[in-house]
Each structure stands twice: as structure tokens, then as C-alpha cells.
């Protein structure tokens, strides 16, 4: 898969140094806008379901952006997102059980544990590339799930139930608090993913994706860059998994290590477009919302099918995702180009 994806990647020149200052300002304004909108939503809406559902969508924004750092930029397809996610959740559980730690500490510890796991997976990339690397990441997930399943401290197969503490001061409900925490994490993840894409790291990762030997021979420290990518990607996935315990009030291995997380984290960037930070965001918002709507209106089983069908559709029809489609429309120029940019802007 990685080979095919890298082959189809379209190569747009990164924003040149001159225009980057302006773009950064727009990005920051956008982030502040999103944050203000979230605060307004929390003040105005009383129904907790809205925040419950948004929490899941935002969680996928983090997972998809994190996946894309390794899978999209460097071309190393990680099928083990669920391992990082669940390790984040179980790290949080450990911090709650052992130290009764607050949410922020849970998230930080989860990020560190999953980052270390990322380091280990990065070392796998020394020997395994392409599909073999992907299979190894699946193996990592299975091994860790088995370990957790057999650890009595974490509740084993039957899982553990946890009581939510009182929400902190400005928040009137715990759901709103979790929503706010997740929106902060989503903004952080997107900002990191965007920074990596545009910095020297991003250019090096692209070189690795195109041809690792050639990259090494023109001075790119490939191992170091791959380790940066796996650690950052893993840490973000772990952080996204940390609030899981408090969100569900319950944690058990089969749902925490669910393949659904791995598949969605991979499908969303591919559907949105892997070449840029905005791709995973578009994919996660689109697919995540559709999943939530379908879960409520039709059935919770069907949403898995929808991910599958959309993934196949995009791989066949638009291998560069929505971003690629927009670019193609723009490249046609004239009126269709304007339509394409309008569509891109609306997203």
C-alpha cells in the first residue's frame, strides 16, 4: 500500500519562506476561532450528547493527524494505531489507580508511554519496510492486547469500571470538560502535524517516502527522522487514548484495542489526502461525523461498513483523497478552478 500511495503522491512545492508568515497568521486565527466556537457551544448548549459525539470526532482528528505524520509524510503505514491508543488509555488507568492523578497528568503520562512505544516501533523500521513494517505494527497491537488481557491489575478481560470525579471549576459537566480537553488536543495535534510538514523534518520525511537510500545518500539522517516521526505520532495517539477511561467510565481490552481505531486512523487521512496536514482533518471531520450520524440514525454496526466502502471508493477513484481532487479541479483552471478552491475553502 505504501508503495502505491507514494507513487501517486502529487508534488506541490511547499509554501515558500516568504508566504509562510501570512499562512501562519491565518492558521493561528483559525485555531483561535475554533476554540472560541467551542466555548460558545459549551455556554449555549445544554445537551451532553452533542459533546459526547463531538468528543469522538475530535478524537479521530488527533488519531488521523498523528497517523499521517508517519504514514502520510514518511510512507510508513501503521496498522497498529489501536495499540498506541489503548496504551494511552491503560496508562491513564494506571495513573488513576495508583496515584489518583488528575486528567492532565494522565494525558501527559499516556503520551510518554505511547511515545516510548513509538520509539520501539521506529526501531522496527530499521529492518522492515513497506508491507512488512505494517504487519509488524499489527503484531505489536496483538501482543500488547494479550499482555493487558492477562494483567489482573488492569482488570483482565472483564475490564474495570471507574467513577468520574467532579468536573473542574469552569465546567458544568464532565462531558463538556472532556470535550474541551479533546479540542485542545486536536488543535495541538494539527499544529504539530502542520509544523512537521512544513519544516526541514517534513522535507526529509518526503525524501524517505520517495526513496530511502537516496535520501540517506544526500545527507538525510533517515533513522533519526523516522524515530522523530514514530515517537511524535505515537505520543499523540496515546494522548488521544488517555481520556478514554473517563469518557467510557469503563475500560476493557477488546474495545480499547479495537481494530476500528486502526482502520479509521488510516482511512481518514487517505480519504482526506495524505500530502498535507489538512487532509487528515478533512477526512476525520467528514468520516467521524458520518459515523456518528449513522450510529444514531441507522445502526452502530453500519458505520464500520461505511468506512470500508468509502476507503475502497477513494483508493480506486481518488487515490490522492479529497485534497487531490481539489488540486485536480484547480489545475483544470478557469471556472472549474474557482469552484475547486471554493470547495476547499468550505471545508
Amino acid at each position: 500500500m505504501s508503495g502505491k500511495m507514494s507513487g501517486k503522491m502529487s508534488g506541490n512545492m511547499n509554501a515558500s519562506a516568504g508566504s509562510m508568515g501570512g499562512n501562519n497568521r491565518i492558521f493561528v486565527i483559525g485555531c483561535v476561532g475554533v476554540l472560541l466556537a467551542a466555548i460558545a457551544l459549551m455556554a449555549g448548549v445544554k445537551i451532553d450528547y452533542v459533546f459526547n459525539a463531538s468528543f469522538v470526532v475530535l478524537q479521530f482528528v488527533v488519531l488521523a493527524s498523528a497517523w499521517n505524520i508517519l504514514g502520510g509524510y514518511a510512507g510508513y503505514v501503521n496498522f497498529g494505531t489501536s495499540a498506541f491508543f489503548a496504551m494511552g488509555g491503560y496508562s491513564a488507568l494506571f495513573m488513576i489507580k495508583a496515584f489518583n492523578a488528575p486528567l492532565l497528568v494522565q494525558i501527559l503520562v499516556a503520551a510518554c508511554v505511547a511515545g516510548l512505544l513509538g520509539l520501539g516501533v521506529g526501531l522496527i523500521s530499521l529492518r522492515l519496510r513497506g508491507i512488512f513494517f505494517s504487519i509488524a505494527t499489527v503484531a505489536v497491537a496483538i501482543i500488547l492486547e494479550t499482555v493487558i488481557l492477562n494483567t489482573e491489575y488492569f482488570g483482565g478481560a472483564k475490564g474495570l469500571q471507574m467513577m468520574r470525579p467532579e468536573p473542574m471549576a469552569p465546567f458544568e459537566s464532565y462531558d463538556k470538560m472532556l470535550f474541551f480537553v479533546m479540542i485542545l488536543m486536536a488543535i495541538t495535534a494539527v499544529a504539530i502535524s502542520r509544523y512537521i510538514e512544513r519544516s526541514w523534518i517534513g522535507r526529509g520525511l518526503r525524501a524517505i517516502k520517495d526513496n530511502e537510500e537516496a535520501a540517506e545518500c544526500v545527507g538525510v539522517p533517515t533513522l533519526k527522522l523516522k524515530l522523530i516521526a514514530t515517537v511524535v505520532s505515537g505520543a499523540l495517539m496515546g494522548a488521544a487514548g488517555a481520556p478514554l477511561v473517563m469518557y467510557m467510565r469503563f475500560i476493557e481490552p477488546v474495545s480499547a484495542f479495537s481494530l476500528n481505531y486502526s482502520v479509521s486512523a488510516l482511512a481518514m487521512p487517505i480519504i482526506g489526502g495524505t500530502s498535507s496536514w489538512i487532509g487528515p482533518v478533512i477526512g476525520a471531520l467528514l468520516l467521524g461525523s458520518v459515523q456518528q450520524i449513522v450510529t444514531v440514525t441507522i445502526s452502530s454496526e453500519l458505520n464500520v461498513l461505511i468506512v470500508g466502502v468509502l476507503l475502497v471508493f477513494f483508493v480506486v477513484v481518488a487515490p490522492d483523497g479529497i485534497l487531490g481532487l481539489v488540486r485536480k479541479l484547480r489545475a483544470k483552471g478557469g471556472t472549474s478552478g474557482a469552484a475547486g478552491s471554493a470547495k476547499g475553502g468550505a471545508k
Binding site: M9, C217, V218, G219, V220, L223
Partner: protein, 241 residues
Amino acid sequence: MSALLSIASVSKHFGGFTALSNVSLEVAQGERLGLIGPNGSGKTTLINCVSGALKNDAGTITFKNENLNGLAPHQRTRRGIARSFQIPRPFHSMTPVENLAVPLEYVTYRGVAHKHDIKGEAEAILQDMGLGDKMHASCAGLSQVELRKLELARAMAARPALLISDEAMAGLSHGEVDEVLAILFKLSGTGITIIMIEHIMHAIMRFSERVVCLDAGQLIAEGVPTEIVKNPEVQRAYLGA
């Protein structure tokens, strides 16, 4: 000890197969060295040992009086060894300018705080290599000779002291061979040491100041081009006489 690159008793085995056996070679600063030998004689293996893509099993490789053993390829590139690949390996999702920006960012201007005009410099190098009109095009649209030039341009962007050109002319037409040769001569004129691996004999004869011949992993002959072609060992192994 004025040698820029010194290869001393280097051996390399792949399982039971001996790819290089006790090869010793010195390359002087500014020299134009031709490396010839039949297919499978170990030319590319030797180059891979020098560039760091392979680890030599025995012997030492010294560059600018520094032992290279144990250094990763990117560290060797930063010390001044650049290579082109036999089969071009462009970064195909990037334009030629972006291809060159990678070594410019990672080698030439590594750790330099203030912004250099990397794009401008990449354009200048490509212009110099005769790729001026394709600088911002997609790599997918480049012809074979243009890809070879891009390989050389990308290697040069790292500002090497030693350039290893691995069959940069194989499969090119007569006129195209001359084009690439002209580029290599121009680079040599700027003081860069060049090792040229090539099967095209007229190119080797014109370009090299000295030629070495490998056969079955061993160095069998060394001398000026006119001597080498008369050497019976070389004729037997390589020229098929």
C-alpha cells in the same frame, strides 16, 4: 599522505560469495579516476562500501585522513562524499528544485540559523547542469538523460569533495554521453575529485587520468587509459579479446 580517499585491503562477502577481496586503492585530491570491470566484478559494491550503503567486512576506508568505518551514509555525505545512482532515484513527488533542496538543507546549510536562498541556489545548480527549463516540472516528465543530470545535480548540491558517478551514461545516445561528459569535466575543473564507473570505453578513455580495473572482486590492473586497454589481463577479463 596526500590521498583524498584511501581504500586499504577492503573485503566484502555476501554469504559464501566474495564480492570484494582485499582491494586497495588511493585517489588523489582533484583526480579523475575511471573504474571499469565486467558486470558483477564488484564496482558498485566498492562504491557502496565507500558511500556507506554497505559495511565492508575487512579493511579500512579513509577519507580526508578520517576512518569512515562505522559512519552512516548521511554522515559520509556530510564529510564530502556524494554519489549518483546507476538507476536514477529521484524524489519523484518533488520537482527538481525540491530534490536539490534536500541536500542543500541537510548538508550544505545544516545548522545555519539564518535563511539562505535555497531555492535560488538549487535553480542555479540546475541551470548549470542544463536543466534550466525543467526546474519546476514534475520529475515524472524527465527523460533518461535529464534524470542522470538530476542525479549529478543533486549530488553536487551537497558540495562534495569527492563525486562518485555510477554509470551516469549507460543507455544514453552518443550525443547525450558527450553532454554528461562535458558536465563531469566542468565539475572536475572546479577541483572536485571524481570517480567514474562506466562501461562506455570512449568516455572512460577521454575522461580518466587513471583507470583501475576490477575483476571478480579483485583489482587486476591500474594505469593510464592507453596502457590499460593494452593490458592483457584487462583484455582477457573485460574487453573480451
